[in-house]
């Protein structure tokens, strides 16, 4: 049973040149983007792993994505109006005890969680609830990876050595105790900030990250992958960060809260806008 050990970032994108990007850009729906969001043109995503009969890549529909990760200040507005998501009131089923751990109090992020820094120590449920409140949703893995594959200058960032180097450097840098503000670095070519370099982010379908059981012959794969040597078997070592994200996601449970795991919202492009 042969599986394609993927070629993720390098071939993750259908939109592979500036020219084709320009063509896609013309297809942007008319109308103003929702506040703080940017339009991602339709493209393709090549999963890191796939089942035997799965296609090599899957289409990603055009969608809106938050330019920035959600900040402590923004999350404060949410818990102000949604008391059940306050630290003292959240149910254990939906967030473990470390929920909003860095905050000074229920309604006070405090000095360890600056207003303009990304909110972290939030569970998948909390992230989902915040997005729903905003009329948004969490991006899917495909959407997130597709967006994150873009460098500041091109949609296929894997072909941008400087970008690849920077992403890898971030993965090799410890997370600071107090997270820096969002929106500091350059945006990627789609206008999105901080997909790399700040925090990891929840995706809607994080619990699909581990292919298991019957559709995949070899249940030892995950073990080999994660207990073995990371990206050792991959054709393209530059996609090591994608392996790390894959491993990280598959280690998560929905109630987990982690210091360097935040989120951002996404939204469907309304069908009445072509």
């Amino acid at each position: 049973m042969k599986r394609q050990a993927a070629i993720p970032l390098s071939l993750a994108l259908f939109v592979s040149t500036a020219i084709s990007f320009a063509i896609h850009a013309q297809e942007r729906p008319v109308g103003t983007p929702p506040a703080g969001m940017t339009l991602l043109p339709a493209g393709r995503y090549t999963p890191l792993f796939r089942a035997e009969n799965d296609p090599k890549d899957i289409p990603v529909q055009s969608f809106w994505l938050d330019v920035l990760p959600v900040t402590n200040g923004e999350f404060l507005e949410f818990v102000r109006t949604h008391s059940k998501w306050r630290r003292s009131q959240v149910k254990q089923l939906f967030a473990e005890v470390d929920y909003l751990k860095r905050w000074a109090g229920d309604l006070e992020p405090g000095t360890n969680a600056p207003f303009n820094a990304p909110v972290t120590h939030v569970s998948w449920f909390a992230a989902k609830a915040y997005c729903a409140w905003q009329g948004k949703r969490l991006p899917t893995t495909a959407e997130w990876e597709y967006a994150a594959a873009a460098s500041p200058t091109r949609a296929d960032g894997a072909n941008d050595p400087e970008f690849v180097r920077q992403v890898q450097n971030w993965y090799a840098t410890p997370t600071p105790e107090i997270l820096p503000p969002v929106g500091r670095g350059r945006t990627n070519v789609f206008g999105v900030h901080d997909l790399h370099g700040l925090v990891w982010e929840w995706v809607a379908d994080f619990n699909t990250a581990m292919v298991t059981g019957d559709a995949r012959g070899d249940t030892g794969l995950d073990r080999q992958l994660f207990c073995g040597s990371g990206s050792e078997g991959a054709k393209d070592r530059s996609n090591f960060p994608a392996f790390m994200r894959y491993g990280f996601r598959s280690s998560l449970k929905a109630s987990y809260t982690v210091h360097n795991l935040g989120f951002r919202g996404a939204q469907d492009v309304e069908p009445n806008k072509p």
């Binding site: 796939r50 089942a51 035997e52 009969n53 799965d54 296609p55 149910k91 254990q92 089923l93 939906f94 473990e96 998948w124 449920f125 989902k128 971030w170 993965y171 090799a172 840098t173 410890p174 997370t175 990891w200 809607a204 379908d205 994080f206 619990n207 699909t208 990250a209 581990m210 292919v211 298991t212 059981g213 019957d214 559709a215 995949r216 012959g217 070899d218 249940t219 995950d222 073990r223 994660f226 207990c227 040597s229 990371g230 090591f240 392996f243 790390m244 491993g247 990280f248 598959s250 280690s251 998560l252 449970k253 929905a254 987990y256 982690v258 360097n260």
Partner: protein, 215 residues
């Protein structure tokens, strides 16, 4: 297809995958992330009446449709221990075994308590597993009245799977790859025990159920 029982779950996935990830991170040098968590998956104790606890799955607001076409919340199935499994009717390999494992649990229960345990099958296949398809499944597999077959909205299925520690993914043929886990909920809807993998001996699950049924 090989017949490896897949062993993923709340507890095991937690420990295993985290350990593995930790090793991967270690090998990668100094990486940004360490996740060290104790998955609090297995509660004990039997809350029955009164408000549901902080850890209860009966807090879920999601609505489900059973094979008779009735809409219900998960809490409506409570008040007795439940054995919950996620499956899909068109599954050619693992699910029949899972259902068989559930039947083994039922058969191994002492006769006087057998009917006091509920069995719940929740489908991944929100498209094809209509109430009629589920009713057909009940007929084919001769599932008795204390078994519930449920379908829900895709988002609610994803959420329930997340809560049960079940990973799943649809492939191109419309089959679902998924973890094989039987979850025992106590009468109050808290996860009390999980049986992981296929073709497992029912002993431990039965022991847990009997304990939960003790007055």
């Amino acid at each position: 297809m090989n017949a490896h029982p897949h062993r993923l779950s709340c507890c095991r996935l937690g420990a295993g995958a985290l350990a593995c990830l930790a090793i991967a991170l270690f090998q990668a040098g100094c990486l940004t992330t360490t996740v060290s968590k104790t998955p609090g998956c297995c509660a004990h104790g039997v809350p029955s009446d009164g408000p549901v606890s902080d850890r209860s799955l009966f807090q879920l607001e999601s609505s489900w449709t059973n094979d008779a076409g009735n809409t219900l919340k998960l809490g409506a199935l409570g008040g007795r221990p439940l054995v919950v499994t996620m499956f899909f009717a068109k599954c050619e390999y693992a699910c029949p075994v899972l259902v068989h494992d559930m039947k083994k649990v039922q058969a191994a229960l002492p006769e006087n308590v057998r009917s006091r345990v509920g069995f719940v099958l929740v489908t991944f296949d929100t498209e094809r597993d209509t109430p009629a398809a589920l009713a057909e499944y009940r007929k084919i597999h001769e599932l008795p009245a204390n078994w519930s077959l449920l379908r829900g909205a895709p988002d609610d299925v994803l959420e329930l799977a997340a809560l049960l520690g079940v990973k799943f993914r649809k492939d191109a043929r419309g089959q679902f790859a998924h973890s094989n886990i039987l979850t025992v909920l106590n009468a109050g809807g808290e996860v009390a025990h999980q049986q992981i993998g296929l073709n497992q001996a029912p002993d431990e699950t039965v022991k847990q159920l009997v304990q939960l049924l003790r007055p």
